[in-house]
């Protein structure tokens, strides 16, 4: 049931939300003339909590992590990865096409689901380093965050403080979302159904990932640029 709900959310979300900083927030961002720490914290957290692509990837990452120590280790790598590219992207003025970056983020969801299905060992006889994968995909997720902010002519005044605030907000939002996901997973794991449905669930996560790839590539080729 939970899996079905997630699939529906994955399928419908791209239609509901353009996945960027929404209109009125964008107006606020462009009007900024200096530091706005709390609003940027809030927007970072909001972006993460409502960013289904990041969430779907996180679900995949912690799906088979049973020990808190492992959860912390993997999430820290993800955080390290996306913080590097968020800060470097915006402050260094590195521009990437947001559709292509978001398509790669969608692919990261597919990759993680395939890994959770044990696809790499079964098909290719080896398991690529899972920590390295989380770090590398974390870098792309950070670029995704950066492109959203770069869509706006942000004032140079207080830029560093604002970007760092946004980044910290992203981590707060990630912490909140992770807590909710972990509670849900913990509850699910107490049921026998977890093992029976785990494979199918990852299949649905993978479907969501493919959907994100398709949606973003469609935007790249068909969107009004």
């Amino acid at each position: 049931m939970a899996a079905l709900v997630i699939l529906i959310v994955c399928a419908v979300s791209p239609v509901l939300e353009a996945h960027g900083v929404s209109g009125k927030d964008a107006v606020f961002l462009q009007g900024l003339k200096g530091r706005a720490i709390v609003p940027l914290l809030y927007l970072g957290a909001k972006h993460m909590v409502t960013g289904y692509d990041h969430l779907l990837f996180l679900v995949g990452v912690i799906f088979f992590l049973y020990r808190l120590k492992d959860v912390v280790a993997y999430v820290s790598l993800f955080t390290l990865g996306h913080s590097i590219t968020l800060l470097a992207g915006v402050l260094g003025g590195i521009h990437a096409n947001s559709y292509l970056i978001d398509a790669i983020i969608g692919f990261s969801v597919v990759y993680k689901a395939f890994e959770n299905m044990d696809g790499f060992r079964r098909f290719f006889g080896f398991q690529p380093n899972t920590k390295a994968a989380v770090l590398i995909f974390g870098l792309f997720h950070g670029f995704g965050l950066a492109t959203k902010l770069q869509d706006f002519a942000l004032s140079q005044n207080g830029l560093v403080a604002n970007i760092v605030s946004f980044n910290v907000g992203v981590e707060i939002g990630q912490g909140l979302a992770l807590t909710a996901i972990l509670i849900g997973l913990e509850w699910w794991r107490t049921h026998d159904a977890f093992h029976r449905h785990a494979f199918a669930f990852n299949g649905m996560v993978m479907t969501g990932g493919f959907l994100l790839v398709g949606y973003q590539l469609s935007g790249y080729f068909l969107g009004v640029v």
């Binding site: 044990d118 079964r122 649905m204 949606y215």
Partner: protein
Amino acid sequence: MESAPAAPASEVRQRIAVALGAAILVAGLVLVMFILPAEFAVDPLGTGAKLGLLPLGEVGQQVDALNQQASEAAKAGGTGAIVATQEKPFQQESVDFKLAPHEGMEYKYRLDKGEALLYAWNASGPVNYEFHAEPDGAPAGYAQTYEKKTAQLQATGTLTAPFPGIHGWYWENTTDKEVTVTLKSAGFYNLAHEFRNGQPTKNKMFQ
């Protein structure tokens, strides 16, 4: 990773392959049947039209295009609507020019960059004309053409000067009879020049 009960390797592989294929198929169908028509007004299977999703995509694309235009206009300096307040006095005039058979003449207003001119002229007989400007500081004889037509009886429109300079018309009477060109204009000009045979013949000041 998954602690599934031991199953033959081939069976596990098959299961993963089926899941992978199903994931691609479902994602592809959802994309083509629903998302493409609703988001991008692309409807390869006709499902968007049947379900009424297509108008959603069409309106969305239109709105995106309009927003895009507006944001480009805003980047170019403005809000899309061009409002330029003026402190110079408002001027309007209606002037007649007589062109002898096969004679040509020019009449140009001095406008700064961004200043607008509203104009309408008509001729009693067909004239060739060139609407053009000479930018300040350009070499003598250099002109930028806005519009050039033959055998016309009238033209109307607005001009927003792209650079400071003198902006106006060259009219040429191609007939064997005298032609009168009547120009009406409004703007914030304070100086106009009349040229005959390429030489300035009259300067007109506006107060």
